[in-house]
């Protein structure tokens, strides 16, 4: 079976979904490369409690300054650990449970070097995902989360401080197999996080260069305007 390496950036995740996320990844990943972006809680210790984890630590946080540089560093650490397939997930994202049995056949297929998935944003709870506007997972398309490492491809990022993508540009251009597994994103699942994340989003993108104002506004919509479907 081809080796599967997960790579992830973490920062102060101890009180969020980190343990669940690593428990989920250890079921089907051979190695988990983590770059800790200068956490001030016990995130690094939690990471190291999982035997598959290889942890790298930054002394100074880059996430809000230069995400592309941070992603580049994680990529470099990952490729230095002899990967075959690389899965990029955040610490609040989960592939469906059946990934443990249904991901391996995808790694063995020989048609595609990249695999994409649909991401479902759980909203206000873990049981429902959002389907209105740009939140609609069925209509906004697939994104590549899983790639076969190819040394001949350039492993560089566009010079963007934010929204720079999780994989090097050359990998994001590969023809990709649209995967059937869904990704459950819990970033918006806790109602307490929503306002905080809204503030961060508009601080990072005050001129609405990456997303429309309407989309950012929709984060704070009242429940009656938000459309949900059961997970």
């Amino acid at each position: 079976m081809p080796k599967l390496t997960a790579m992830m950036i973490v920062r102060n995740e101890a009180d969020r979904y980190l343990i669940r996320c690593l428990q989920h990844l250890e079921r089907f990943c051979d190695e988990i490369i983590i770059l800790d972006d200068s956490s001030t809680d016990n995130t690094p210790e939690l990471c190291l409690s999982f035997p598959q984890v290889k942890l790298y630590r930054r002394k100074e946080s880059l996430f809000l300054k230069d995400e592309a540089q941070l992603r580049q560093e994680l990529w470099n650490y990952t490729v230095n650990n002899s990967p075959e397939w690389i899965l990029t997930l955040d610490a609040d994202e989960f592939l469906e449970k059946k990934a443990a049995t249904e991901l391996p056949p995808l790694l063995k297929q020989t048609y595609f070097q990249a695999i994409s998935f649909r991401l479902f944003d759980c909203w206000g709870s873990e049981k429902y995902y959002r389907v209105d506007g740009l939140w609609n997972p069925w209509l906004r398309g697939f994104s590549i989360y899983l790639v076969k490492y190819q040394p001949h491809l350039q492993g560089t990022w566009p010079k963007l401080k934010f929204h720079c993508g999780r994989l090097p540009l050359s990998y994001r251009r590969l023809p990709h197999l649209e995967g059937h597994l869904r990704i459950k994103h819990l970033g918006w699942a806790n109602p307490e996080d929503i306002n905080k994340k809204y503030q961060r989003a508009i601080t990072q993108d005050p001129e609405f260069r990456y997303m429309s104002k309407e989309h950012y506004d929709s984060i704070l919509w009242p429940p009656e305007k938000i459309k949900l479907e059961k997970w």
Binding site: L106, Q109, Y111, W138, K230
Partner: protein
């Protein structure tokens, strides 16, 4: 020196997006390109696109900017291919009509089945003079290539009775299945409490999805021990969304499409497989895969399905109305012994459609024509 083969198709990649949905035709193309490369040829592909060049599975694919579709032929695309592939030694027209108006001297054209038996085709060639024009162009398309390859006998019969002067050109190379990968499992364990009906097709009307959904509503409300599994991509994202919403309103109906690599297991877990196409069928890969897994197949009476399913022997051939589907499924669902016998016969038939035989037939054809 390595000889070069140019292959012309319409849509392998989506013409304007980086999107491929791997269906049967796409798999066939990749497998044919792999075989050509194994035989020592250099292969490149042309299709409709926005003047881009991409690569897939080690093969360059060139997008030709054209939107012209006349009488279901693509003359601009075909002529651009003719000029652009001048330095190539041989050509393969992946769809018969692509050999119109001009074909390379050393070339082959492939039919994946009759697509003009769809009633909607009448919208394109319904008027008598339009139909005659389409047929006139098909006559030219069939004239150019040295050999015409058909995946089913239905296409050959149609043309032999319509444009009979190509009798000597036709070669029957039916579709294929990897019978090692798609194989039966021993399900003689304990009695299952549910009968699983599988619809392993795209969610499009010509594949009979609407009739199957209605049959599913009737049968699952009549029998709590029957469940329906829809396993296929939509023609667009919205269809997949609608199907997900529909199954959430139904008892014992499920929608969960899978990539090819997981399909053997999907067939193995099924008790009855539905291929209820109304039209536009060749020797369906899905039907062959189901048969190779030892499952009885209820198939639409159309196209190349009649080359695979013998009425009452390894399944049923029927006009896929809701009434007919309900009756056939109901009968088989209640008769375990019949399902088993039909499944075993299906497996036996599938063995003669083994991928290795397809490789051999195609290799011989290529050697005969590309010389």
């Amino acid at each position: 020196m390595t000889k070069k083969v140019g292959l012309l198709t319409t849509n392998f990649f989506h013409p304007t997006q980086d999107r491929i949905i791997m269906g049967g035709a796409e798999r066939y193309q990749v497998d044919l390109c792999r075989l050509l490369r194994k035989l020592g040829y250099h292969v490149e592909v042309w299709q409709i696109g926005d003047n881009w060049t991409k690569e897939f599975d080690g093969v360059k694919i060139h997008g030709v900017k054209t939107s012209m579709n006349e009488y279901n032929t693509f003359p601009e695309l075909s002529m651009a291919f003719y000029e652009n592939s001048v330095s190539f030694d041989y050509a393969i027209y992946f769809i018969l009509s692509l050999a119109y108006p001009v074909a390379r001297e050393k070339s082959l054209a492939i039919s994946h089945g009759v697509y003009w038996d769809w009633p909607g085709f009448d919208v394109k060639t319904g008027r008598h003079q339009d139909h005659q024009e389409w047929l006139r162009r098909m006559n030219i398309a069939l004239t150019g290539p040295e050999k015409l390859v058909s995946v089913d006998t239905n296409t050959i019969s149609y043309f032999n009775s319509t444009l009979s002067n190509f009798y000597h050109k036709w070669e029957y190379v039916p579709n294929y299945v990897n019978t090692d990968l798609f194989c039966p499992i021993d399900d003689n364990q304990e009695e299952k409490d549910k009968i699983r009906i599988l619809f392993p097709r795209r969610l499009v009307p010509v594949r009979g999805v609407n009739e199957t959904m209605r049959a599913a509503e009737i049968l699952t409300s009549r029998y709590p021990w029957i469940e329906f599994h829809f396993c296929g991509r939509g023609h667009d994202d919205n269809t997949e969304k609608l199907m997900s919403q529909w199954v959430s309103t139904q008892e014992n109906c499920y929608y969960d499409w899978k990539p090819f690599e997981l399909m053997p297991q999907v067939y193995q877990q099924a008790d009855i497989v539905l291929i209820p196409s109304r039209s536009t069928e060749g020797t369906s890969l899905a039907a062959l895969e189901a048969m190779a897994c030892g499952k009885p197949v209820i198939a639409g009476l159309t196209g190349g399905l009649c080359d695979l399913v013998l009425q009452g022997y390894n399944g049923y051939l029927l006009k896929p109305t809701v009434k007919n589907l309900v009756a056939a499924i109901e009968e088989l669902a209640k008769d375990k012994a019949k399902r088993k016998t039909m499944g075993q016969r299906g497996r036996e038939i599938a063995l003669s459609f083994n991928k290795k035989i397809w490789d051999e037939r195609w290799s011989k054809l290529i050697t005969d024509v590309f010389c």
